[in-house]
Amino acid sequence: MTVSLPILGDVEHALTDVIGNFPNAFPPRRTPVPSPMDDQGRKEIYGFFTDTTLCIGCKACEVACKQWNQLPSDGLKFTGNSFDNTGHVGATTWRHVAFKEKIAQGTHPDSVGQRVHHTAGTPSTDGASDGHTVSTSRWLMMSDVCKHCESAPCQHSCPTGAIIYNKFGDVYVQNDICNGCGYCVVACPFGVIGRADNEQDDGHAHKCTLCADRQEEGMTPACAKACPTASIQFGKIDELRYTARQREEELHGRGNKDAYLYGCDSVGDYGPLNAFFLLEDHPNEYNLPVAPPQPFRGQKKRYAAGVLMGLALTAASALLFGGINRGGGSNGRRH
């Protein structure tokens, strides 16, 4: 039964609004999600395997991602860096195709370590040289994406619990409770997650969701679906790792000894990544970190160091103030 007071109409309205919305201040606990750490959860984890040897740089993944996730444009700009005008993965670019031109002519000292690049078994020799040097010019292309770490620093750092591991093992940002503090942005050693600052979105963190909405329907993520050369493969992570190792062996058998897997096994402080890559050059050439640090390791020790310093200085001040009494000159109490 509600008693309405005509004079206090607005006040009553405000009060009922507050009281009515009071339960919303304490939202119910979200349904528990399987941890990627336990064996039962691990079986169901899905991820990406990006084979850069197959990438043709068509940017279909970038376009498909933007379309499906309705991401705003990044503006028209020319970076002058090969065909890459996007630059980096970020809040509004969840797939980014990197283009790296590696021009090496004959016996130029800057040529890429004088490496022999076999294409389909036959080395392409440089006509002008003495026959020992070979053309080493290459065009590296890679579709970069969130790595969906099993122990993700963005998830660790998130102060609101907005970043979670969802039931597919993806690292997922819940935008309704993200408060845009920007801690995940500095926590990520891959520089993936970004904060949107555009008209539609006032400062929330965004990154690849691994198309969780499509996965719900049993569909492949948009980028993997759009990839015309199967450079981006999506599937259960264990199966992907198996095929990736097979692919690496196949390439080695063909003579491409430079091919290696990045993130299939542990990288830096991290365990195997859920989005991993087959690369042909130094990770930094693709803007990937060599040994990404896990900033939350040794956290307790660092807390302890600070608190101990505080304790020491408190003790010092206690001694100093206690010493005043002993030194005399004040009319304080004496024990």
Binding site: A25, P27, G87, H88, K100, D110, S157, P159, T160, G161, A162, I177, N179, C181, G182, Y183, V186, A187, C188, P189, G191, I193, D202, G203, G268, H282, N284, E285, Y286, N287, P289, V290, A291, P292, P293, P295, R297, Q299, R302, Y303, A305, G306, M309, G310, L313, T314, A316, S317, A318, F321, G322, G323, I324, N325, G327, G329, S330, N331, R333, R334
Partner: protein
């Protein structure tokens, strides 16, 4: 046929009943959108382009500021400065931090608040006489410093609701979440302290005398002990968690540096001591003399904190190595140098002999210098993170495994072994000789 032409060549008579209504209705917005503004298709006059001046055509291209590395072929490109280091067009791996002046100011104020509160409580517990008044000044300064902190953080987040979102979970793995809980609890804690002092001083005028339930409860010794026992860890966390927050990131300057948290704690204490010293110096002249020895203790404590700060800073630089370049070169180098100069200047001023009012003024300038140094230290660390993350070289360094420390040269190693070993051997021989003497004596005695 005439009907057909009216309805666009389609006969609606036998069709759906809604189709004709649709024809009659006109969307006002649509019409407005389709209106062509006058002069839209009129040709615009061509921009006049001045013919190239032959004198300037052959002149060297002068690039704009910051453009030199990209366009001057004679200058080395940015990524070539570090040799043949592999990189992706010199784009940084990491994202630029999004924290600005609000966070720097918050780090300073939060530290100052924690420092002055703890020093005040220590004075209350361990001091005597007028020294115990520091508790009152400390709590007041702590409350004054912590009050602007939530608005600063909310300004950074952009919405008060967003501050609340951090309080809907308890997630101590995130230093920011822990810090939010700590400042929330701490503000209440300090407010209780200030309320106690206020009631003790002005309670009688408000009709709340000493026998009142509230005042008896507030001044209850056991409750005060519990209050302090709970408040001390809270305050220590507030002083130290800001450095910890920065060190739990992948930013090259801050990442995993164990010295950052002690550095910020030491700075918190030094700024707290300086604030209290300033408050004592600003008191009316009649009240000042009784705090003479308290001032001396505060100045000594400040010196101790500054020493700890410098030790932590050198430890920080040693641990970070080349990754700390953002503090020594670039945008924040000046701020960082000024902060260190402020710290050293405040210490040097303390050595200048002065008496009477001159000593007070000297001490005040020294405190202000120290406070400015503390603030600029936070500022240079927060904004230094921006330069460190945008510099592709340091960004790569953050994720490059540190090279193994060079082993000691064999000669030095042998020398050290000998330097330690020979005295030990000598001691051993002396000991053996001494042991043999009484045994020989006993043997003789037998």
């Amino acid at each position: 046929m005439a009907e057909d032409t009216e309805s666009g060549g389609i006969n609606f008579d036998g069709g759906a009943p809604w189709a004709k209504d649709l024809q009659k209705k006109q969307d006002p917005d649509r019409v407005r959108q389709l209106q062509i503004p006058p002069g839209m298709f009129e040709p615009k006059p061509l921009r006049e382009i001045a013919p190239p001046d032959p004198a300037t055509r052959t002149a060297a291209y002068v690039p704009a500021k910051g453009e030199a590395a990209a366009y001057d072929p004679n200058l080395p490109r940015k990524h070539e400065r570090h040799g043949d280091e592999p990189s992706y067009y010199d784009i940084s791996i990491l994202k630029r931090p999004l924290w600005g002046w609000e966070i720097a100011a918050y780090f300073f104020l939060g530290g100052l608040s924690a420092g002055s509160y703890l020093i005040g409580r220590a004075a209350d517990r361990f001091g005597s006489g007028p020294t115990r008044d520091l508790a009152k000044f400390g709590s007041l300064a702590a409350l004054a410093a912590i009050l602007p902190c939530p608005p600063l953080l909310i300004h950074d987040l952009g919405d008060p609701k967003r501050f609340h979102h951090m309080l809907r979970v308890w997630k101590p793995t995130s230093p920011m979440n822990l810090g939010t809980w700590v400042i929330t609890a701490y503000s209440g804690h300090v407010t209780a302290d200030v309320a106690r002092f206020f009631l003790n001083q002005y309670g009688d005028r408000l009709g709340i005398d000493e026998r009142h339930k509230i005042r008896r409860m507030m001044n209850n010794g056991k409750l005060l002990l519990i209050h302090d026992a709970g408040g001390a860890p809270l305050t220590l966390l507030l002083a130290s968690y800001t450095g910890m927050l920065l060190s739990a990131t992948s930013n090259p300057l801050w990442s995993k540096n164990p010295w950052l948290s002690p550095l910020f704690t030491a700075s918190a204490f030094s700024t707290g001591a300086e604030t209290l010293s300033l408050i004592l110096d600003c008191l009316p002249a009649t009240q000042r003399p009784k705090y003479g020895s308290t001032q001396k203790a505060l100045v000594r404590l400040d010196t101790l904190c500054h020493a700890a700060e410098l030790a932590c800073l050198s430890g920080f630089n040693h641990h970070a190595g080349e990754k700390a370049a953002a503090l020594h070169t670039g945008e924040q180098a000046l701020n960082h140098r000024i902060s260190q100069a402020g710290l050293l200047g405040s210490e040097l001023l303390k050595l200048v002999p002065a008496t009477g009012d001159l000593a007070r003024r000297r001490r005040m300038v020294s405190s202000l210098l120290g406070l400015a140094g503390g603030f600029l230290m936070r500022w240079s660390f927060v904004y230094g993170g921006h330069s460190a993350a945008t510099d592709p070289h340091t960004a790569r360094l953050a994720s490059t495994p540190a090279p193994a420390k060079p082993a000691l040269p064999p000669k030095l190693k042998r020398g050290l072994l000998m330097a330690i070993g020979f005295p030990l051997l000598a001691l051993e021989k002396i000991g053996a000789a001494q042991r043999s003497v009484p045994s020989a004596g006993t043997a003789k005695g037998r």
